[in-house]
């Protein structure tokens, strides 16, 4: 392999990894507040992207995306109010199972509201063939958008969870809900807020990756599985680690393709996940003994 080729594999890995990363970030917000994994996260992405695609026919792209994010945020809040809040004695397992059910319901709803066809948003800048050249290799400009948006989301979340009262209150709910309540945190609204945030960020992620991956009603689950893998790989609750883990997994898959038949790509990804779970269960980037839930 010569240098441009190695670089091209690297850039290909970053393309795939950036998608994994931005999906993974969404998982962490709800986890940070409730300790549950929201398996409907993938569907939030699709709802967001589909809404944006519909809106983009009548309003300019930025407005369409903003509208989609707001609508999906509202949907996230509504779902929490209707399905999660009413569950008495909400154990983590019970809530997780509810999110699995929700993912199925939302997916079918998407199928009926929109249709079964693959759609996509236009590329944000240039066209599908607009690329940036690095060391003789090429990367789509849209990937830079995905990375940039991921960076902004992660930075904003980090600041939010570390330095704002609301953010700290949300983290407190995850650590010990009863204690947080005793300190005057309105834990119920914190959970609602986390669903809204997570849905909104999911929608934004769905919009940014749509030109690359296309958007189809049943794409949520495969995306969420990869995002979930990456979130675990990085260490649940840690958004910065999720981005690093996403890029790591993408690069790993790309170089597996370069050396072996591409059919082995998934095998390697899963083996790595298993190894991490066995040897570093708190994630690749977690330091032992630290608070995992600090974003």
């Amino acid at each position: 392999m010569n240098l441009p080729q190695i670089t091209q594999y690297g850039l290909s890995g970053i393309t795939v990894g950036s998608v994994y990363a931005i999906v993974a970030v969404g998982f962490n917000i709800i986890y940070n507040t409730t300790g549950i994994i929201n398996f409907a996260q993938g569907e939030f992405l699709i709802v967001g992207a589909m809404t944006a695609i519909s809106l983009s026919r009548v309003v300019p792209l930025p407005a369409a995306i903003l509208g989609a994010v707001l609508i999906t945020t509202a949907l996230g809040g509504l779902i929490e109010l209707i399905f999660i809040r009413r569950v008495r004695d909400a154990s983590v397992l019970r809530l997780i199972i509810i999110t699995i059910g929700l993912s199925i319901v939302i997916r079918e709803a998407i199928l009926h509201i929109w249709d079964e066809k693959p759609w996509s948003l236009p590329y944000f800048t240039g066209t599908s063939s607009t690329t940036v050249s690095i060391l003789g290799a090429y990367i789509s400009v849209q990937v830079l958008w995905v990375l940039g948006v991921s960076a902004v989301i992660v930075a904003a979340l980090t600041l939010f969870f570390r330095y704002t009262t609301t953010g700290r209150a949300m983290r407190a709910c995850s650590d010990d809900r009863m204690a947080a309540r005793l300190c005057g945190v309105n834990d119920r609204w914190m959970v609602t807020l986390s669903f809204m945030l997570s849905a909104g960020i999911g929608a934004l992620a769905g919009c940014v990756i749509s030109p690359i991956t296309q958007t189809q009603y049943d794409m949520g689950a495969p995306l969420a599985i990869k995002g979930f893998t990456v979130a675990i790989l990085g260490g649940l609750g840690n958004s910065m680690a999720a981005v690093a883990a996403g890029l790591f997994l993408g690069l790993l898959e790309a170089f597996v393709v370069s050396q072996f038949a591409s059919a082995y790509k998934e095998v390697v990804a899963i083996v790595v996940l298993l190894l991490i779970l066995v040897f570093r269960p708190s994630g690749l980037f977690a330091r032992r003994g630290t608070n995992l839930r600090a974003a």
Partner: protein, 393 residues
């Protein structure tokens, strides 16, 4: 608290059931006994799921066709009762649906399934139950080896591959990269390309399989680029067909892209934008019906179907819907000609049908050929300014 779980599950289950119930039609009640009982025809299409762009237009087409026949009084005074099942592209579902249609509904024939993988799974079930199967899937194995009750309407994989190799010969291409999806259709195409490459003087330098959910293929294509190929052949039916075109442009892999006859849906072109321009693929004439000369034998059928479909469903007709059109056309022609709805009699009639003008081509069935289409059922098409048009060197 246990009851709570049960309650929640109940609510979820009811919710799911409500949402899902829209997908399937309840079987219509039995008609009056006698000569006017409806003729039951089953259909298994991937209306949803990853192969939905095959199944959805197929289901719509068949519904439209049957409605037209029933409005005109049916066949021999009997209406057709159409029972469409949505397999979601899953071979397991296709199997249980086929059994249900055969054992419980006692259908005369089954139209579909949409994909090769599903068809191959139910081929033997239909053969054993002596129920006519008119598949809308492409793989060669559906009709070779032959099962007496199994027919298919799309052109064969080997014919598509032959057209691709012929075009390569014209362009002086001898070294190619082949990428296929891990589906029945992808595997079928891969096998044909591997088998026929040598005899056509073409060498396959890279031969890769990707998973059907793939959302980015730059990795595989980098490998193809590194091998120094003169052309790329992609054989799949998924949205990946649009992604390949985009990714090739993105990594500046500037060689011709050939796709299979699975590319015959304008959505793939739209999904990859201007990157799709120049893609070459073998296809039936439906997509370029307007460009056909007036005296072409298929012109009337194609333009009529296209007009009916597009005005009714407000979306562009695809060749896949056409395959379903051909399937129901062949079945109804055979029933008309046979004057009977006895399975064995209708089967014999189909086997001897000649000169049926369908959307894929002109069908001439024989006991040796249960596809009935010749090499001339294909044309090489290309994409120009986001539209399908005839390919000219």
């Amino acid at each position: 608290m246990r009851t709570n779980v049960a309650k929640i599950l109940c609510v979820l289950a009811v919710g799911c059931a409500l949402v899902l119930s829209g997908c399937e039609k309840p079987p219509a009640s039995e008609g009056p006994k006698g000569d006017t009982t409806p003729i039951k025809v089953g259909a298994i299409f991937a209306v949803t799921g990853p192969a939905s762009f095959l199944g959805a237009p197929e289901a719509k087409t068949v519904e439209m066709f049957v409605e037209k026949i029933n409005q005109a009084g049916g066949l021999h005074g009997r209406k057709i009762e159409l029972l469409i099942r949505d397999s979601g592209g899953s071979p397991e579902k296709a199997i249980s649906m086929a059994r249900q249609l055969i054992d419980e509904e006692k259908v005369l024939a089954i139209l579909g399934p949409s994909t090769s993988g599903e068809t191959l799974q139910i081929k033997n079930i239909c053969q054993e139950a002596q129920t006519i199967l008119l598949s809308c899937a492409a793989a060669e194995e559906i009709v070779i080896p032959m099962a007496s009750y199994v027919f298919k309407t799309p052109q064969k994989d080997s014919q598509a591959a032959q057209w691709i190799f012929n075009t390569m010969k014209d362009l002086g291409i001898t070294k190619i990269g082949v990428i296929t999806s891990n589906t029945g259709f992808g595997k079928g195409g891969k096998a044909q390309l591997e088998k026929m490459a040598a005899e056509n003087g073409v060498e396959i330098l890279v031969n890769e399989v990707y998973e059907k959910e793939a959302t980015d293929l730059t990795g595989v294509l980098t490998k193809v680029k590194g091998a120094g190929v003169q052309a790329v052949v992609n054989w799949s039916i998924e949205p990946a067909q649009g992604i390949v075109a985009k990714n090739m442009k993105q990594i500046q892999l500037d060689v011709p892209l050939f796709q299979s006859h699975g590319y015959g849906n304008i959505k793939y072109v739209q999904a990859s934008g201007d990157a799709a321009d120049g893609t070459i693929f073998p296809c039936g004439r439906l997509l370029v019906a307007d460009e056909l000369p007036e005296d072409h034998p298929q012109k009337a059928v194609l333009t009529q179907y296209k007009k009916d479909y597009e005005s009714r469903f407000k979306e562009e007709a695809s060749t896949f819907g056409g395959h379903a059109y051909d399937a129901i056309l062949i079945l109804t022609e055979a029933i008309k000609k046979a004057g009977s709805t006895d399975k064995a009699v209708v089967r014999d009639t189909i086997e001897n049908l000649k000169g049926v003008v369908g959307t894929a081509g002109i069908f001439n069935f024989s006991p040796e050929d249960h596809n009935g289409l010749g090499l001339d059922a294909f044309e090489m098409l290309t994409v120009k300014n986001g539209k399908f048009t005839f390919y000219k060197k």
